[in-house]
Symmetry: C2
């Protein structure tokens, strides 16, 4: 129950992603729910033999570390990313330890698996985690892409991770980027 | 993808439940995530043989109908409850139909199962759905109990549904109510 109460604090963690209406930032709890619903709805795009129940469990717990570490923008620099990784590991040590030992080990295992991205379940989960903010940006007519002046080459760099989890969702994401450039809600590659 | 985009609108639906800090109302998307995490963390309290994956799938989709129907306070009157049920059925017809036919049937089946509360999976899921706002009220030092002048007899009426899903969580909820009365964050039974 202490873990359940603690988990509720994820509703305070604001992400960069903007919700269309009302214009507010998405929090990590509702983001995690949306990803789990995506895993249910898009399960057929996972490689054959993927354990979708395991994908969902991973998605439900993957952002709990943000209760301590906060959310970092996907396009942050390398140094910031490294600081974030250390903060998230410390948060995982603290938060999963609120569970009884056997459950703590299971939950931590799911989080490590998601981070390491070695199983097809983790790769699919990570792909969904990348795809969801892209969908939100398209729905919002640009969203964080416009706010932060992100360009297509930067977004395409993140699409590789989606392809890694699901070939068909990767193709979908590439088409989404091309269409976003065509309609002008995402700038083309930056001049070198 | 139309269903995925539509599902995101659940983040707009505000519930009565207050979050401790910042003082805002919980939305149905983050509520659904919290319930799914509870199902993972409290799985051992489900009756033997309960399919927890099915419980989680049910919890993830159970409130999607509120995108159209909105959330109704658990202590609303009978007439309001009946209006709400009709609105939710109409919403289920519309929203699940955004999925391909086979998935629409599966998702609608999960929603019907949750509503009908005949399987042990549905009973456990419904119990968690009742327990979570109680935990939030205790955390908030009274929450909606104080705001709406709710008394222990009213809350205990809802505890029966928790007991129906899990004997141990039912006992936990009864103790929680007794403790809340003792500490004065919940009024005792109203005089007749």
């Amino acid at each position: 129950m202490r873990f359940v109460a603690e988990a509720g604090l994820l509703k305070r963690v604001l992400r960069q992603t903007r919700l269309t209406d009302p214009a507010r930032r998405e929090n990590s709890a509702e983001h995690s729910w949306h990803l789990a619903v995506m895993a249910l709805a898009l399960a057929e795009h996972a490689p054959a033999g993927t354990d979708v129940g395991r994908v969902i469990a991973m998605l439900l717990v993957h952002d709990l570390v943000e209760i301590d570490a906060g959310d970092l923008f996907v396009f942050a620099g390398r140094q910031e990313q490294e600081r974030q990784e250390a903060a998230e590991r410390a948060a995982a040590d603290r938060i999963f330890a609120l569970l009884p030992a056997d459950q703590a080990a299971t939950a931590r295992g799911l989080w490590d698996e998601f981070e390491e991205r070695r199983t097809r379940e983790a790769a699919f989960a990570r792909g969904l985690d990348r795809l969801q903010p892209m969908l939100a940006n398209v729905q919002a007519g640009g969203g964080t892409w416009k706010i932060h002046g992100i360009t297509a080459d930067q977004v395409l760099g993140k699409v590789e991770l989606i392809e890694d989890g699901s070939a068909s969702l990767g193709r979908y994401a590439r088409d989404l980027v091309a269409e976003a450039v065509r309609t002008g809600i995402l700038g083309p590659a930056r001049p070198v």
